[in-house]
């Protein structure tokens, strides 16, 4: 065993708590301590791990997934620093069992947590379904509160606390709002899941067949009772009919846990006991599953419809496809696989309509449009002719020309009409028809 390590043995922060530092932030901090730039450090770790492919800053996968490369990089980093607890800053213990659609390119944060001294970027913020900080009860953000621009992940340490576009601080009081009990529960269990991951000696790799044990027990008991919500039924259908058991996404896991009234960890660690518990009474307030899945085919179909609609309405300027898909919680690769013609047509139309120098203003107008349109009731006619007052607001807010702002608002209106129900909709009485539309695609 090594006595001296190439990199200093810097411990990861927040171990044994739900606020554990993400590995991505750890690497940025390590680069700061060593006085080197992030890119060369990444390459050094990659080279040490024996990988022959190059990764560029911002595309690096530090929290999980990505197959063998991730495990090799993690082992390399642990060996280079001599810190054996770094795996607790990643989702590596869940990788065998759960598919985590972690967004690697966009940063997410709790603005109030960032106000603290020695604040670090937390692993739990990486979970796409973690919508509010359970400690401060404020929204998790991914855009600058002043200019609305989306923040890239994996920034160097000295730039992490500032907006990459306008330079304003990302830390602020945050936005607090009333949340449904289901969402509060989901945030709580995700925080606890990360707390479990971050505890050395407790978190161990979960056997990959644990989830299968849970599902087979559940199916044997209740599959034909017709009490499952459609999304879950569709997931179970694959198992019953085709005997295929894909790794569940975090959304599916949360939905199943909610359905069984158990903690997601119970499903993963004690599958038989978790499946034995009686089903949640579906006649109560909990009627349908609110946690979507980016791999979900219905969401993908909805995204394809949205893009087609934007082409059909002949938006004068088209926003970047990735920005649209992010809003619709669909992965670009999933769309390209399922609807390659739509992705190609959109890309071609955008290239012909949007000159290079207009790309940034359009992206900003679209971001601001999403926020402005999201705050009011959407009128379907806005998909054809966006309201002038909203466009003027957007134009003033992000300092773009009026016609660009108008196009941004129009695109935002189209995208938001294709989105699932918003949080505010969830507070009211549950509309079964709306739920069905969202879950199965319009």
């Amino acid at each position: 065993m090594a006595i001296f390590t190439p990199l200093p043995p810097v411990s990861n922060r927040g171990l044994s708590s739900g606020q554990v530092e993400s590995l991505e932030h750890y690497v940025a901090r390590l680069a700061g301590i060593c006085g080197v730039r992030l890119g060369p450090l990444w390459r050094a770790i990659n080279s040490y791990s024996g990988s022959d492919f190059r990764i560029s800053p911002g595309k690096g996968n530090w929290e999980g997934g990505g197959g063998d490369g991730f495990q090799r990089r993690l082992a390399a980093l642990e060996s280079m620093t001599g810190v054996a607890t770094l795996r607790h800053s990643t989702f590596s213990v869940l990788l065998e069992t759960v598919s985590l659609p972690v967004n690697r390119e966009v940063a997410r944060w709790c603005p109030k947590c960032l106000q603290g001294e020695d604040a670090h970027w937390q692993l739990v913020w990486k979970l796409p379904l973690y919508s509010a900080c359970i400690l401060h009860d404020v929204d998790i953000e991914s855009r600058c509160s002043l200019c609305g621009s989306e923040q890239r992940a994996a920034k160097p340490l000295h730039r992490q606390m500032k907006c990459s576009s306008c330079g304003s601080a990302l830390a602020h009081q945050g936005v607090s709002r009333r949340r449904s009990a289901v969402h509060r529960w989901a945030n709580q269990v995700q925080f606890e899941l990360v707390e479990w991951i971050a505890t050395p000696g407790v978190a161990e790799n979960i056997p990959s067949d644990n989830f299968q044990i849970f599902i087979s027990t559940l199916v044997q008991r209740d599959f034909y009772s017709n009490r499952f919500p459609p999304l879950i039924k569709k997931f179970l259908h694959n198992y019953v009919v085709r005997s295929v058991m894909p790794k569940p996404s975090l959304g599916t896991l949360l939905n199943l846990a909610a359905l069984q009234a158990v903690h997601p960890l119970d499903i993963l660690l004690r599958p038989s006991e978790a499946a034995e518990l009686p089903l949640f009474d579906l006649s109560s307030a909990f009627k349908w599953m609110p946690f979507g899945n980016p791999h979900d085919r219905s969401a993908c179909s909805s995204a394809a419809l949205c893009l087609t609609s934007m082409l059909r309405h002949e938006c004068s300027f088209l926003p970047p496809i990735n920005q649209v898909l992010r809003q619709l919680a669909v992965r670009p690769c999933t769309l390209s696989e399922r609807f390659p013609d739509v992705a190609l047509a959109y890309g071609k139309a955008r290239r012909s309509k949007v000159p290079c120098h207009m790309r940034r203003p359009i992206s900003r107008a679209f971001s601001a449009g999403l926020r402005k349109v999201g705050q009011v009731e959407i009128d379907p006619s806005w998909c054809h002719s966006p309201p002038g007052d909203l466009a003027r607001d957007v134009s003033d807010l992000v300092d773009v020309a009026f016609d660009v702002a108008q196009a941004g608002v129009q695109a935002a209106a189209i995208v938001l009409t294709h989105c699932g129900p918003s949080e505010s909709e969830l507070h009211g009485p549950i509309d079964e028809a709306l739920a069905e539309r969202w879950l199965l695609g319009a």
Partner: protein, 328 residues
Amino acid sequence: MEPLLHRNFKRDRSLVLKLAGAAEPGSFIFPVGTSGVGKTVMEPWIIRKLAGDPERWRTGTLPAIVARASRAEKGFFSSKDFQTRLNLALQSPDFDWLDNSNDVDRRALCQLREDQVESGKVWSHLKLHASERELRVAFERQSVAREVKWVFVRDGASICGTQKGKDPSDYILSCMEIAEQTRTVWVIFGVARMAKLWQTHGEVRRRSTVIPLMRYFDVEDDDIAFAQVVRTVARQYKFSSPDLVQNNVGLVYATTAGSYGQVKAFFARAWSRALLSGSDVVNQNHLSSAVYGEEDLKTLWADTREFDRLLVPGDTRRVVESSPTGWK
């Protein structure tokens, strides 16, 4: 070869070890001695004793580092070069202070050598930031992360070799800030010329402990010990008569200024003279021809007197009387 553990060397070595071990973080220790007094020899032993068994270090930590102050820029000291050396001492330390020691496990030493090579490979991919300020920040952060407690600086007198218009005391002030920031004890070895480092600033003086590494004086008790040292060193060589060494102790003292390293060098020179003349024993002529030239002797004794002046306590009465509000 194991150094000769003569009386003064053993006493001073233990003193430096004791003071370095008990020093407050952020303080300086200046072991000062004339050339040949044993600074280079005692340093690895002290580091080994302070750092302890490498197998007991927490992985990746480094209790002590060693850097050399050198006149790297056109013959002058460069603080940027010094910062680079400090960083290198953290990133790829050569662990030369563990060589030739019986108290370190061979396996641990081999492992450290391997780790050093591995670290060198990793750092070959990483280019350090160029500016002096960034180097300094990197050193401060890394030394805290590596839990460094002692920074050993070799050849501290080089820091005084500054370019025109630059004051060496400014460099030591900068080192003091680093020592405070990193909570480390700095042990700076050097000759008496480096006295400027602590004499110019009261702030530095207050945090400094100067340890004179004593040469042998031609006074009672000391001269007996010196004669003993001379006889022990001379045992390695053959002489034309048994009394030759005893009769020449005065000569040896005059040409070595009572310093063990100089005594060793003197007898080595005499022996080489004997070999050149085709003899296999050292005689009086060889001893006489091994004496330094006049200019060399002047320099030797000037350096020695400079060191001796450090040992003389200040005249408090004179200083107090010249002060307008002095306490009489």
